[in-house]
């Protein structure tokens, strides 16, 4: 089951190309959300493999943190004086 972690790390590196060279801020936000979801799945697989429950808490906290940060950043981008 460790091979799925390697595959997902490769997918995250391949997906972070758009995070580095994305033309606008929205492209980078999409890539950041995708990489964070992959990271959540990696944490869940590691937690099941080692029978350790703390990494699941970390993954749920990371998901909620990504949600709140992205919502706040898009509310900031949609303002009238920031066009």
């Amino acid at each position: 089951m460790i091979y799925f972690i390697y595959i997902l790390i490769g997918i995250a590196i391949f997906s972070s190309y758009r995070l580095l060279v994305g033309p606008t801020i929205q492209n980078r936000l999409v890539a950041l959300s995708s990489v964070s979801v992959i990271f959540i799945v990696i944490l869940a697989i590691y937690s099941i493999q080692n029978r350790n429950i703390f990494f699941l808490d970390l993954s749920i906290a990371f998901l909620l943190l990504d949600f709140v940060g992205t919502i706040a950043f898009t509310k900031f981008l949609g303002r009238e004086d920031f066009k």
């Binding site: 595959i7 391949f14 492209n27 959300s33 995708s34 697989i45 993954s59 998901l63 992205t70």
Partner: protein, 118 residues
């Protein structure tokens, strides 16, 4: 552990990995922000839920399994909200989607990209 259950779990995790690879490929390849949203976020949500469902089948009935079910529910709710918020901010900044023609006949449509104006 039952051998068929383990094989089905491995099948689900492989399917989710392939689906997430397709999401990353669409994020790399598509030209517009709306197309990237359409490719990336929905497919990524489905792949993550499939991999976590395979983990639930592998883990059996325990506290770990219950917590992964909570994680599946949170991903199912929160990730489309993130996608919708990004698309809304792109719309509020005045970006038009890259389409070669509009389906409304009376409306004047001027694409902002150079190769569509020919």
């Amino acid at each position: 552990m039952n051998i068929f259950l383990e094989l089905f779990s491995l099948f689900l995790m492989s399917l989710g990995s392939i689906v997430m690879l397709f999401a990353a490929l669409g994020l790399y390849r598509f030209p517009d922000i709306y197309m990237r949203l359409h490719s990336s976020t929905k497919v990524n949500t489905g792949g993550a839920m499939t991999i976590l469902l395979g983990l639930v089948l592998r883990s059996g009935i325990s506290a770990l399994s219950l917590k992964i079910l909570v994680l599946i529910l949170l991903i199912f709710i929160l990730t489309p909200v993130i996608s919708h918020a990004i698309a809304r901010s792109a719309h509020l900044q005045g970006k038009t989607p890259m389409i070669p023609f509009t389906s409304y006949p009376k409306e004047e449509y001027e694409p902002e990209y150079e190769f569509l104006k020919e």
